[in-house]
Symmetry: C2
Subunit: 217 residues, 2 copies
Amino acid sequence: MSGANDGDGVDTFDGNAAWPVTLEGVTETVVTTLGPNGRWNAAALGLFAEPAEQGQGTTKTNDAETRTSARTWGNTRTRRNFHRRGSGYVQFTRNPVDFVDAALSIYELEEPVLESADAWVRVSVERIDSGSENGTRWEDWQLRPLESAVETETVPTINRGFGAIVEATVAASRLEVDGYDEPVLRDRLEYYASVVDRAGSDREQEALSRVREHSEW
Amino acid sequence: MSGANDGDGVDTFDGNAAWPVTLEGVTETVVTTLGPNGRWNAAALGLFAEPAEQGQGTTKTNDAETRTSARTWGNTRTRRNFHRRGSGYVQFTRNPVDFVDAALSIYELEEPVLESADAWVRVSVERIDSGSENGTRWEDWQLRPLESAVETETVPTINRGFGAIVEATVAASRLEVDGYDEPVLRDRLEYYASVVDRAGSDREQEALSRVREHSEW
């Protein structure tokens, strides 16, 4: 990882790197941010591809007309590290265990990039908006790529078990949040577990165990 | 597509091609089969990676120890064309509109390979089992790769809207099948539609319209 910032300073927009993937709609990623303990905190982050200027079109892709943003909810490590450092590493992984650990637990690393990352992007982040919903403060951040690398390219495949892990992670993270109907969430979790049983591989089974371990499910 | 069978004969196992992807658990694909009208019928097909010999291990991947099978439900075009031709083209696509059209409608092509296929595999198929469930006859087929090609490799990304399209397709296909609880299916469909609205791109929005168009939803 030559050229990666080792965390001694606040990153500024010093490059003009490109996103290594096409971003459309909301893309679920893992972001690592450097904490005050010198370790990299991994968390889930949804990237929004939006038209940069209102009225410039409706196609939500990361071309020149779009900007990429993400929302942090509450006073998370990601939010605090974004404020402190102004940067992070966005990563694209298809490893369901890493995804669940990042989304639902305190998951810290010595290095900023996950072993399982197919690609990563060092980004600068700038807060562009904030507000609150159902008593939770949120902040919106614009992300600009500073440096990126593709580690592995593959033929993407569809596994319903993998999708069920992503959905189970979302549902489990809402179990303790006001404003969601808990019995509905639990029904969904049972259904996702049945999909993992039928269609998942050993990796998805392991990820499902982690969802149960890390949540009130 | 040099070397592809043009459909004048029944395919036999004449090669020793490899699967161009790692198959684990159940992988959702589109299969095209040559019909008596000379056109290629596209349909959804789930590939099961199973240990070839019972007790040889629990890891479900397509290494030497595994076999790949798929189940057809009812008297579909795919089932009939499998019997007639003994072959088909398995395709890996991430285009949600193609996936929905193949799964829920009569979708016929002049050529066997979809424009959107990231990879394809010509397979021979052999019936290995049959039975019935809730009054529907099923047949299990073993698939062996004869020839394959990778068209595009990318960094896979996670979009919940895409996953919701796959799940909506499954739910919509069950609306008219005995043994499923229709109100439960309709609740799921409404939820998947909300996920597509929030996280999908224009392609997923189009695919959602197709689900509504092709089903009793």
